[in-house]
């Protein structure tokens, strides 16, 4: 099964070496980085926010959501083009197909993280040390994969790769904006605060920032969220996979 997975990961990586991936994984996160930098720099710096430390994890969070969108796209395409059915006629374990998809997505996530952190370093973002960097990347990837699983569950029920991408983008907007990703808690009206606090994006981005700064991290909230999402979406994926 390990070999099967390896072969499929190789195949997934090869087909994702396209211009589309280049735009999705590198160009579009950096466009958002530039855009948010121009818009938020003055507004947040005047409020005493250390802007480079604040924004870099925010853009990483955003890119992780975009990674899930492309997972959905690739799965829906594999399904509509018959690749999934073809794999099933072969004497390989169905689980390998899923594991390969998840492993590929984990690898793909590293690309935007590297690009964003590199640009972050140019504007003054710093990890406090190697363990902080490793923890940061691990948490970001674990978080991304929980959403990739959700996207996979949806995509296994659809065979239109284009519409799945836009359907996934929509729920990401409130999750991203109504969280501490792009603005500190104090900016929001009081009545919204409970929503902001409970949002998994807030828990994760706060932990990412603390990890990067080398400050004491409360890892429990993001890890509980991630574990719960893995469980729920994992079950949904295995059900959808058997039916797809």
């Amino acid at each position: 099964m390990i070999r099967e997975t390896g072969v499929l990961v190789g195949r997934n990586v090869r087909i994702s070496l396209s211009r589309r991936s280049f735009f999705q994984l590198i160009v579009s996160p950096l466009v958002f980085f530039g855009g948010f930098h121009l818009v938020l720099n003055n507004l947040l710096s005047t409020r005493g926010v250390d802007f480079a430390q604040f924004l870099t994890p925010a853009i990483v969070m955003m890119a992780m959501g975009l990674a899930a969108v492309s997972t959905g796209f690739f799965i829906a395409r594999d399904r509509s083009e018959g690749m999934l059915n073809r794999c099933r006629t072969l004497p390989i374990n169905g689980l390998s197909i899923l594991l390969a998809r998840i492993a590929t997505d984990a690898l793909r996530c590293l690309v935007p993280i590297a690009a964003i952190v590199a640009v972050g370093y140019a504007i003054g973002f710093r990890f406090s040390g190697l363990p902080s960097a490793v923890g940061f990347v691990a948490l970001a990837v674990a978080f991304a994969l929980s959403f990739c699983l959700g996207a996979a569950a949806l995509a296994l029920r659809s065979d239109d790769p284009e519409s799945i991408a836009s359907a996934l983008f929509l729920p990401m907007l409130p999750l991203l904006n109504l969280s501490t990703v792009f603005a500190p808690l104090s900016v929001f009206p009081d009545w919204l605060e409970p929503v902001i606090r409970i949002n998994p994006y807030s828990a994760t981005v706060d932990a990412l920032r603390a990890l990067a700064d080398g400050q004491p991290v409360s890892l429990a909230p993001p890890l509980i969220w991630i574990a719960a999402l893995w469980l729920v979406f994992g079950l949904a994926v295995s059900r959808a996979f058997r039916r797809a």
């Binding site: 948010f36 121009l38 836009s166 603005a183």
Partner: protein
């Protein structure tokens, strides 16, 4: 004229028979508005909706460009235009029909968005005539965006190029617009770009028409963009279309 109306009708029917497309095009601006409002309302001030609602209405045109160009691209490949070419239709009316359909869709989505924007407090405070002007500016802006989409759909070698060449510029134009945050809040070196951005000039025109303020200058600037960029792309699109049929 009938040709044009028929083709406009086709383009609208195609849209109205794609339910996911309808939901997404109407839901996207509304969700975007309600989720951005608390963040930037908090950062900028109480009257933020008067500034932001016009930009959201305009962004239905700009964010609609990649999917609309992609739809056109598939249309061109699928042979419907080849079929139209076998009929005694002029290239101009085929293109204009498509353009009119897209502009109607953009104005419809923008109207719904503006209606919904009344919930968080957006108001027209300037009387009836400026409201008409408001939607006229939206239509002109929408026509410009559609002309650009048309040209890209007609000249792009593949679907990924369509998406790739429109995605980043439309996103950046949204960020660099004075409808998003005031010009003075941007770093000094980028302010000229923000001021020249068609999304800024059109936002300023809509803000002026809806809630009072300078109207003439931003309207003229927006018209200049529409005639310059939109006209150029429209002409090139007709030419590219004729060339393909030759």
């Amino acid at each position: 004229m009938t040709e044009m109306a028929l083709l406009t009708g086709r383009s609208i029917k195609r849209f109205s028979r794609t339910p996911p497309l309808i939901i997404i095009s109407f839901a996207f601006p509304v969700v975007l508005m309600f989720t951005i409002l608390p963040v930037y309302g908090g950062l900028i001030g109480d009257d933020y909706i008067q500034r932001f609602a016009p930009l959201i209405a305009l962004s239905t045109a700009t964010f609609g460009m990649p999917p609309s160009a992609l739809g056109l691209f598939t249309d061109f490949r699928s042979g419907i235009f080849t079929r139209l070419r076998t009929m005694p239709l002029s290239a101009g009316s085929t293109i204009t029909g498509r353009l009119a359909g897209d502009v109607l869709r953009i104005v419809a989505v923008a109207a719904v968005t503006i209606l919904v924007a009344h919930i968080p407090g957006f108001r027209f405070t300037n009387g009836v005539l400026p409201v008409l002007g408001f939607f006229a500016v939206l239509a002109v802006f929408g026509a410009m965006c559609t002309a650009v989409s048309l040209l890209i759909a007609l000249t792009a070698p593949d679907a990924d190029t369509v998406q790739g060449s429109l995605g980043a510029p439309t996103t950046l134009a949204f960020f660099l617009s004075s409808g998003f945050i005031p010009v003075e809040a941007y770093p000094g070196w980028i302010q000229p770009v923000v001021q020249a951005n068609p999304l800024s000039t059109a936002s300023n025109a809509l803000i002026g028409l809806a809630s009072g303020g300078p109207v003439l200058v931003p309207v003229l600037q927006t018209l200049a963009w529409a005639v310059g960029l939109g006209g150029l792309c429209g002409l090139l699109a007709v030419r590219a279309y004729r060339k393909q049929s030759a």
